[in-house]
């Protein structure tokens, strides 16, 4: 499974949706994921990829990790996975 599919699977599980209901344009808010759901998703993604995501719930807009949509989340994770592998 690609990074994209694995992230979508985690996000879908958190949102209690089918992966097919999660689009690249979806925001976490669209998917009904609240602040606790967000930190739980980040934890699950860190566990899945064995990476550390630089995210501070106090200032999400200033975090290096962009959570504004599923697409930006996936892009951020791909970068982290690549640099972990490098």
């Amino acid at each position: 499974m690609s990074v994209k599919d694995r992230v979508i699977a985690i996000v879908a599980e958190q949102a209690v949706l089918e992966p097919s209901d999660v689009t690249m344009e979806s925001t976490l808010e669209d998917l009904g994921i609240d602040s606790l759901g967000l930190v739980e998703s980040i934890f699950a993604i860190e566990e899945e990829f064995d990476i550390s995501i630089p995210f501070n719930a106090n200032e999400p807009e200033n975090s290096e990790f962009d959570i504004s949509s599923v697409a930006t989340i996936i892009a951020g994770i791909e970068k982290l996975v690549d640099s972990a592998a490098a």
């Binding site: 209690v16 606790l36 930190v39 739980e40 980040i42 934890f43 860190e46 566990e47 550390s52």
Partner: protein, 402 residues
């Protein structure tokens, strides 16, 4: 001052998953103590406890709830659901705004602590689940009850070790009696039966390796239990106006501190709490027919408690009954007073006094009627529930039959 009655009761403990099952087990003198089932149990010197068994939490709570509920919160919610269902109360408007939850608890989310300490210390991982803090905080159970039942008044958690539940219920009683709250949900919950929890208690060398035998000359220590008891304390006129079924009246309480020793109990501290509860309730000593003892089964507690009761009641001490139901459901630490209050309600309402089981041989230092081994029928007008905690913190409640 308002009068305060109990209009709902709920529990889950080693004797049963609800109040009727627990009453039945207490009447029959069942023992909920058995071999502990937990990871690394073979590394424990004490391998018995009163665990809640046949507990399928995934049938009761959904996945998101389970991610947030430590076992002590799960127990509290199960007990609260039963108590609230019995009371028939629903909370909205002014009733919701003024009513709250005061729970007793000692250890907080010990299962969560234990699991996550393993993760970082034993497994060497550097990441834990984000809900560790909201799961393990001592007030989590009270908070989840407030959320599930829309209770927006005063809610908090009281920690005074083995007296936590009695202190919590005394606080709730005061709030309703003073007119501050029309209804308070109260009681206690504990889930300390995990490897670290039992290991810590082992260290004190006060645990029995075979059974809890309060007041018996052959007693050799306490046995830990787990579970919750939750009650609906309601202002009497409020309860009567809506035709509620009243289980008992709460008539008084007292709290004292030994101010002496961090673990050894004090006869004087205990007797002042018992006498204080009687005075607060305005009852004569000879009206008391039953005392649910603290009765831990340790050498020190049981003789101290018996001498305190003898001090307070004089000749009437030989006519009243005092049993320790810890012999059956174990010592629930911060939740124990709540489950033990059930024995008081059963005595007052059903006229059945729960026994002290495991009783083998009389101890001259515990020469009271401890209702050995078999429940007894009796007409009880007033019952007391004792709790004497480590740290010398004592709390005694007084209940009257309705």
């Amino acid at each position: 001052m308002k009068r305060v009655v109990i209009t709902g009761a709920g529990t889950i403990n080693a004797l049963g998953h609800n109040v009727p099952e627990t009453f039945e087990a207490m009447r029959e003198g069942h023992c909920g103590i058995g071999p502990l089932e937990m990871r690394d149990v073979e590394r424990l010197a004490v391998q018995i406890g009163a665990q809640v068994s046949d507990f399928a939490s995934d049938k009761i709570f959904n996945r998101q709830q389970l991610a947030l509920y430590d076992r002590f919160t799960q127990f509290a919610l199960i007990a609260a659901r039963e108590a609230l269902a019995q009371s028939g109360l629903e909370f909205s408007g002014a009733l919701s705004a003024k009513s709250g939850v005061v729970l007793g608890n000692s250890g907080g989310g010990m299962q969560t602590l234990d699991e996550n300490y393993r993760t970082v210390y034993e497994d060497g991982k550097n990441r834990v689940h984000p809900f560790v803090v909201p799961k393990l905080m001592n007030n989590a159970a009270a908070s989840h009850i407030s959320m599930e039942f829309n209770l927006k008044g005063p809610s908090f958690t009281v920690a005074s070790a083995c007296a936590s539940s009695n202190h919590a219920m005394a606080q709730a009683f005061q709030m309703v009696r003073s007119g501050m709250a029309p209804v308070m949900i109260t009681g206690g919950t504990e889930s300390m039966l995990c490897f670290g929890g039992v290991k810590a208690w082992e260290g004190l060398r006060v645990m029995s390796k075979d059974a809890c035998r309060p007041f018996s000359a052959t007693r050799n220590g306490m046995v830990q239990g787990e579970g919750a008891g939750v009650f609906v304390f309601e202002e009497m006129d409020h309860a009567k106006a809506r035709g509620a079924d009243i289980l008992a009246e709460v008539i008084g309480f007292a709290m004292t501190s030994d101010a002496a020793d961090i673990v050894m109990p004090s006869r004087h501290g205990a007797s002042r709490a018992i006498a204080g509860a009687l005075e607060d309730a305005g009852v004569n000593r000879d009206e008391v027919g039953y005392i649910n003892a603290h009765g831990t089964g340790t050498a020190a507690n049981d003789k101290t408690e018996c001498s305190a009761v003898a001090d307070v009641f004089g000749p009437h001490a030989d006519r009243l009954m005092m049993s320790s139901t810890k012999s059956m459901h174990g010592h629930l630490i911060g939740g124990t007073g709540a489950v033990e209050l059930l024995a008081c309600i059963m005595a007052l309402r059903d006229g059945v006094v729960a026994p002290t089981i495991g009783y083998e041989e009389a101890d001259p230092e515990c020469a009271l009627d401890v209702v050995p081994n078999e429940a007894r029928e009796a007409s009880i007008e007033v019952a007391l529930s004792n709790a004497f905690a480590f740290g010398g913190l004592n709390a005694v409640l007084a209940l009257r039959r309705i």
